[in-house]
Amino acid sequence: MQRKPPRKSKHRRAKTSRKLRSRSPPGQISGRHPDSIGSFVEASARALGIPLERGWSEGVAFNLRLILRHAKLVDEFPLADDIEPGPVFYA
């Protein structure tokens, strides 16, 4: 089966006048809680049922900061409501 073409979106991107927020240093989700990652890692690991052994948190926090830095770059880009996500599922 041929993959269906994506829906045409009327909206493309907001005007450039919509200022993109400046990037925060790694580890700051919003720039307001610079020390939150360590406790977030511990709490998330508990919620997910992943046992964190002594000494692992630092490496996880380092990687989570990196992920969040990339996530922020995605987050600050304005996208129209009607843009479909990339993955396609065929019933």
């Binding site: 994506p6 493309r12 997910l48 992943i50 990687n63």
Partner: protein
């Protein structure tokens, strides 16, 4: 045509040359396979490319081919060609270890991966499984369980990853053809570091059935070789719909081998600017060489490329973590710590932003497809630098110091994000090669391969013979 049967000739012959000799009856498939097995025994202790050698299976298969020829049956276009696969592809009778410790406990696979079946249907002979970065979450080719793959051009250097063994085995003359997988650059990065050709086809083109996944939204499989003709022969043999891979698109196979000689004349080619502007001397030299050879003076901007890379990074972290969540709960100690920490962190990535990354993927795809109304091919560096030294943690990217493990794929990641077909062509700089990406519109592997073939014919791109 080969005039002599010296082992060295067999080592550096292309798959096309070997198959021609076997089809013509000047070489037996068994001779070709035995020579490959001998090379693996002699050289792999240095290169550490292989994690399993399927010698008995290979001999049986080669004998079957020789018997078929003796009885007048036609042989396929890859008759007698030894090949090996990244160890995330299922090989019947072996556990699919995917570079991990944990998967060694899996039941042996009952059936070969779809692409192995298709290559063998074309006459190729599987000789083994190849080293890789753990669970493919890697750009270095290092592996704490099996040891690092070593670069044949300098054994102290990385092969690049995660298809590191595939890069080393082909560049080191152990096999003329290997299979790799590419989620964010894992075919193109080792092709660049090891100085070989690699094809990452359009997302959905080749079946991933019976290969161990990493990121379903971004996983591709493809061939790696020392010539474009070999890439094309292998790619043609593997094309075709496969309902066993939900992402495999039902398209009529479009053989590219007969089209290679059409050349690059008339194609509209541009060099990717901005984000893709090389900041290292070797990457710059390689791009310049290719651009000059093709007469390209046009630059094009791939919109939001940095953001595309970030979105790929985020989707990779989240989907990779989701795949491994149960194992992280019960077996986290059995992972490479560097991979474990990345995966656990990925499990904590906010879902709302991951979905946004998928939406951005759609937006980005539409914007980039507009570019292809105006160009046929985009050139970009494959890696920011030549193969780093083993164990090297960071490299200089302009005036920035970046971690190697996450950033060797800085130029490959935005391209695979939207599934574009890419051929990595090695530029034989001295002392170490580095590759350039030849990028085409979706489903136009033929165009990328034609340009690559032209560069190879003109001597601009080549897989240099290493000093081992």
């Amino acid at each position: 045509m080969l005039d002599a049967l010296a082992p060295d000739d067999l080592a550096w012959s292309t798959a096309a040359q070997l198959a021609a000799e076997v089809v013509a009856g000047r070489l037996k498939a068994l001779e070709v396979v035995e020579a490959a097995l001998a090379r693996i025994r002699a050289r792999d202790p240095l290169l550490n490319s292989f994690t399993a050698v399927t010698d008995q299976r290979a001999r049986d298969r080669a004998r079957t081919l020789d018997e078929a020829r003796a009885s007048g049956k036609p042989l396929g276009p890859l008759a007698g060609v030894p090949f090996a696969v990244k160890n995330l592809f299922d090989i019947a009778g072996l556990p699919t270890i995917a570079g991990s410790k944990i998967n060694r406990e899996k039941e042996p696979a009952r059936q070969d991966a779809a692409v192995i079946e298709r290559l063998e249907h074309a006459g190729a002979v599987l000789v083994g499984a190849l080293n890789m970065g753990e669970y493919a979450y890697d750009f270095t080719g290092e592996n704490i369980h099996d040891g690092a793959s070593r670069n044949p051009h300098d054994l102290k250097r990385m092969t690049g990853g995660s298809s590191g063994g595939s890069g080393g085995a082909v560049a080191g003359g152990l096999v003329p053809l290997a299979l790799g997988s590419d989620t964010n650059g894992s075919i193109r990065v080792p092709s660049s570091c090891c100085g070989i050709f690699g094809l990452k086809p359009t997302y959905g083109r080749l079946s991933r059935a019976r290969s161990f996944p990493f990121v379903a939204s971004l996983d591709h499989v493809g061939p790696m070789a020392r010539s474009i003709e070999d890439l094309a022969l292998a790619y043609d043999a593997m094309q075709g719909f496969d309902p066993d891979d939900p992402a495999c698109v039902n398209r009529t196979p479009q053989p590219v081998t007969p089209l290679l000689g059409r050349g690059a004349a008339g194609l509209r080619i541009a060099v990717a600017g901005n984000y893709f502007k090389p900041r290292g001397a070797e990457a710059l030299q390689a791009i310049d060489r290719v651009a000059i050879a093709l007469g390209v003076d046009r630059e094009i901007d791939i919109p939001q490329a940095e953001r595309a890379r970030s979105a790929a990074f985020l989707i990779t972290a989240s989907e990779g973590a989701s795949l491994h969540l149960d194992r992280l709960r019960s077996r986290a100690r059995d992972y490479d710590p560097a991979v474990r920490d990345r995966l656990i962190a990925g499990a904590m990535a906010p879902a709302s932003l991951v979905v946004k990354a998928h939406k951005f993927r759609r937006w980005h795809r539409e914007e980039v497809l507009k570019l292809f109304a105006d160009v046929d091919v985009i050139l970009a560096p494959a890696t920011p630098c030549v193969a780093p030294v083993m164990g090297q943690q960071t490299f200089m990217f302009g005036d920035q110091e970046l971690p190697v493990r996450a950033n060797l794929g800085i130029y490959t990641q935005p391209i695979s994000f939207i599934g574009l077909p890419v051929v990595a062509v090695p530029i034989p700089l001295s002392p170490l090669p580095i590759a350039v990406q030849i990028i085409a519109a979706p489903w136009r592997e033929d165009i990328a391969l034609r340009v690559a073939y032209t560069l190879e014919a003109d001597g601009i791109a080549a897989a240099p013979r290493p000093p081992i």
